[in-house]
Every structure is written in C-alpha cells, then in structure tokens.
Amino acid sequence: MSTMPTPRLNLTDDAPGGLRDLLFESAPVHVPEHVLIETGLADRMAPIDSPLGTLWVAWNGRGVSEVEQADDGNDAAARHEARTGRRTTLADAPPEPLAAAIRRRLAGETRVRIPLDLRGRSEFEVAVWTKALEIPRGEVRPYGWIAAEIGRPKAVRAVGTALGHNPVPVIVPCHRVVRTDGTIGQYSLGGPGNKRTILAAEGLDPAALEDAARRGERLSGSTTTNIVCWPTCRHARRTQDRYRVSFRSLREAAARGYRPCKVCRPTAVEAAA
C-alpha cells in the first residue's frame, strides 16, 4: 500500500475513481438545450425583418414552427410556449442558413427550401398550406382555387379557416389567397391591412384588383392566344392591353372559345361552382 496520504494518480485496474476524478468533465451547460431544440422538444425564437416590420420566427431542428407579429420578443415567446407547450428561448437572429432562406423567400425566390415543423396539424391543413406555397410572388388566387386543387372543391370555407390557422404566415404565403368574389379578405397576421401591405410590397395593387373584380373582371384572356387566366397570372399580366379581354366566369370564356391557362389553372374554381 502507498503511504502517501492522497495519491494524485491511482492507476490500478479496479480503482476507476482515480482516473474518473481527474478526467470526468461535465458538458457545457448549453448542450442539453441544443439537444432539445435539435429534436424539436424546445424552440428558439428570433426577430426578422419583413415588409410588415419586425416579425418573430420560432424554429427547432425540424423546421420553422411559427411566425408571429409582436412588439416584444418575450411576449411572442410566451405565446408560442403557451400554444406549443415547448420551452422557447430568445436568440438574436435565426441561424444564418435559415435567415438567408427566409430573406430569399420574401424576395420571391420559389425554389428556396424552408423546412417547417407542422406536427399536430391536420392533413387537410397541410394540404392547403402546401398548395398556397405554389402561388408565385405578385399573384393571388381565390380560396376556391385551393379547394379545387387539393381535390376538396366544396371545402372553400374550410380552406379559409385553415389559412387563418397558418402558423407560418409570410413563409407560407396565405396572403396570396383572396376571397372568391375578388376582395382581399381576412389575414391572420395582424388583420387585412397587413395583407394589403404585403401584397403591395410584392408588386400588386390590392385596390385596383378589388375594383376590377367589382366590375366583374374575374378572369383575363388574350385575343391572340384564346387562353384565359387568373388576372394576376404572369401570362395574363404580360398580355398587351389591346389584346386583353375580361370574363365574368370560365363558362363565359369557354363559350367564346377560350381555353384555361395550364399554369394558373382557372378551371378548378368553375368546376366547383
């Protein structure tokens, strides 16, 4: 036996304590939190700039879980926690790849992949939001179009409800879905004023759209191609004024020998009517 009072290194096969006391080291305190965020059991939240001013984005390892408008990050985090049951901590900014993807999406790039955490949402809601993602920046479609496109032509009201529950507005552009009568309609992120603001930021004139709809100009055709589109379809908008013709309905357009555009597919809503 050693006569030393406290041997510093005790390297016997059956005395693990000697090495353990010196070499065991605890993980940095942030590691558990990172694990929970990465697995989607806790969230982070940070501010981003948008046409609507500062928005708060929540995310975890599965994707973006919420976008909301709030004056204060602590309020936004508290609401997010209450809604999801997940502990939510504030950060200065989203991780750069996510921040860059959101910036590019807001700038109108359609091929930007932004993972979303939509756990607990219904298949119908996810189908509605996924369809809304197909509407390009600077264009709008009616609720009925989404209903028809996802194979639920009679569920127009449910589509409106699902869009109102969109947890990730701006990223999923529910602001690009308008009422079937052509009016701009409601918006979950702070009300209809915000919807007009963001549509205007995307290059549309909401008031002019509503005026045209009120005049009965629901669809737009070209006399050179005999194709009929939603008025904001990129093919309709590049038609020169002297070749442009408006229709109240697809039936009227069809009676005049026009076929529906294959890009914006105005067929669908008529089929629902």
Partner: protein
C-alpha cells in the same frame, strides 16, 4: 430517476421523458467523447449528436424494446461509434507521449481554496488527458469507458462487441501503458 424507471417512462411517453434522459446522461456522453477525442469542441458536437440520434432511434422502437434497453451501454455505444467515425474522417494528429499542453482549455473550477493545489490538479488532469489521448484507440476507448465513465466489464463487452476477457485485458494493457508513460516523480505517488 434510475434507468429502469427512465426506460419505462420513455416507453410510455418519449417526448415527455426525453429531457430527463438528456439531463441524466449528457455529462457522461460528453466525458466519454472528450476523453476519446481529446477536443472539447468535438466532444460537444458528438454528445449533442449522440443524444439527437438516440431520440430518433427511440422514436422508431416499439415500447417493449425501449423497456429492455440497457441505457448506459446503449448510449455509450452511440457515442463511441460517432467518435470512431469522427476519427476516421479527420484523423487525430499523432502526439508523442510526453508533456502536452491542451490549448484553449479553461482550468476547471475547483473547490480547493489553495490556488497551488488547484493548479496542481489542473496540471495533473491535462497531463493525464494528453497521455490518454496518445494511447492507441483499441486501448484508449476501453480505458475511457471503464475508468472515466465507470461502466462494468459486462457493459464494456456489450459496447465494444468483444468478450469480457478481451476488454479486461485491453483496459489492463491501457493502464500499464499510461503508468509507463508517467514520469518517475509522479510514479512514486502511485499505488503499487
């Protein structure tokens, strides 16, 4: 909460229990990775990655399989495999046995009020960590699992997929190499 209770609760409610697993095992995952790889940054990444993978795996297991898991050995296996992959991807620089300085490491907080005592402990730790890091992998990993993580030889055999006798011999050989590498003045303080 012991591991039997932990696995029982994980089997019933993975999302509600996983944080308890993290709290109970994160430090040992980190310590294993730190002493196998020798680098705190790598160790942090491995500990995090191992627990995230554990969550993914548990999500795919039937409740009965979760109940039967031997958590300590199972998690150690994930950490060891990740460490091996890391080494394979980016081989550690081979370091000669001898005094080494671990760069960028804060001296750990110590209860000792005597600063010279604390400094001596830190020097011991760094010296020993460097010696350990210089051991060949087949001795280093068993020594770390047995003597840093305190796994039993039966658990070691499970983690390393080798017979108990083999891992015992590897631990013993690893310790012998460490002893041989320690300078004579420190050897005086070792038990026979």
């Amino acid at each position: 909460m012991d591991d039997t209770e932990l696995t029982e609760r994980l089997a019933r409610d993975l999302d509600g229990t996983f944080e308890s697993l993290v709290q109970a095992h994160v430090n040992r995952c980190y310590a294993i990775a730190l002493r196998i790889l020798g680098d705190p940054h790598d160790a942090e990444e491995i500990a995090q990655d191992a627990l995230v993978r554990a969550y993914g795996a548990l999500g795919g297991y039937e409740p009965q399989r979760i109940r039967e898991l031997r958590l300590r050995a199972w998690l150690a296996t994930i950490v060891v495999n990740l460490c091996r992959n890391r080494v394979r991807r980016r081989p550690l620089p081979t370091t000669p046995l001898g005094p080494l300085v671990e760069a960028g490491r804060e001296p750990a907080a110590s209860d000792a009020t005597d600063p010279s005592h604390a400094a001596a402990a830190t020097a011991d730790r760094e010296h020993l960590a460097a010696l350990l890091a210089a051991l060949p992998e087949r001795y280093r990993i068993p020594v770390v699992l047995r003597h840093v993580d305190d796994l039993s030889y039966a658990e070691l055999a499970e983690v390393l997929g080798r017979p108990e006798g083999t891992v015992k011999a590897q631990v013993s050989r690893g310790l012998a190499m460490l002893r041989a590498a320690i300078p004579a003045n420190e050897l005086e303080e070792l038990t026979a």
